[in-house]
């Protein structure tokens, strides 16, 4: 259940593929990872949560932090998520209206920038 993080480049975006449970124990690693991607000069980030079966409020906090960080650098954050247990958390908190969930990294990148 260890968190596995793998980052790929796609059409000028960094796609961070997350596998495992994102909880209070593991979320700091995701935060550090995204921070270093943005600090490395890449403010356009997709977080791909397809390999995530569980995400808690700490994980949600990391996603909110990543959104603020990418936007403050002139970039954006997009999410890939079709797993119901994780989707549900975004819906319950209404965060899916601020950060839409996409079915694939390609779809996430192709999406219009939010107004």
């Amino acid at each position: 259940m260890d968190l596995i993080l793998r980052t790929e480049e796609l059409d000028g975006w960094a796609v961070v593929k997350v596998t495992g449970d994102v909880d209070v124990a593991s979320a700091p690693r995701l935060r550090t990872h995204v921070v270093s991607v943005v600090a490395g000069g890449q403010p356009n980030v997709v977080i791909d949560l397809e390999g995530v079966d569980f995400l808690d409020s700490t994980g949600l906090g990391v996603v909110i932090g990543a959104l603020k960080r990418t936007r403050s650098q002139g970039g954006d954050l997009r999410l890939v998520c079709t797993r119901s247990a994780v989707q549900r958390l975004f819906e319950l908190t209404g965060l899916d209206r601020t950060i839409p969930l996409h079915a694939s990294a390609g779809e996430a990148i192709a999406a219009d920038a939010p107004s």
Partner: protein, 139 residues
Amino acid sequence: MTDLVDLEIPPRSDHLALVRLVVTAAAAVHGRLTDRRIDDLRLAVSEACANAVDAVRAADGDGQILVRIELGDSELAVTVTDRAGGFDLAAVTEIPGATEPGRLHHERGLGIPLMRSLVDDVVFNSTGDGTAVRLAVRT
């Protein structure tokens, strides 16, 4: 008759995955909730345990955290108990609702509101000794 499953873990966040497994497995034995309700309960319990771990560590305690699962006919209830000295629930600031623009400023403080939206009943019982949170899902 209500079956009980009790689990005690050290106050460390790397044990939360174990608690989640036990909740899921106990719910499977219980056999009266849909997968979605089980996912919801699992998340609520994980949040409550994360708070308990935080509280024990902040209090410099090393007491165990007790997770009691009641497999009842009419509900599945999980109580998370710590001995971290308790807190004043009324004094905890509620974060802005989902539609409010203030939401984005909050990377923390989501736990308790989440628990309330995930399960049917949330009851906090906090004394100077510690806190018990009971999270129940009706069948």
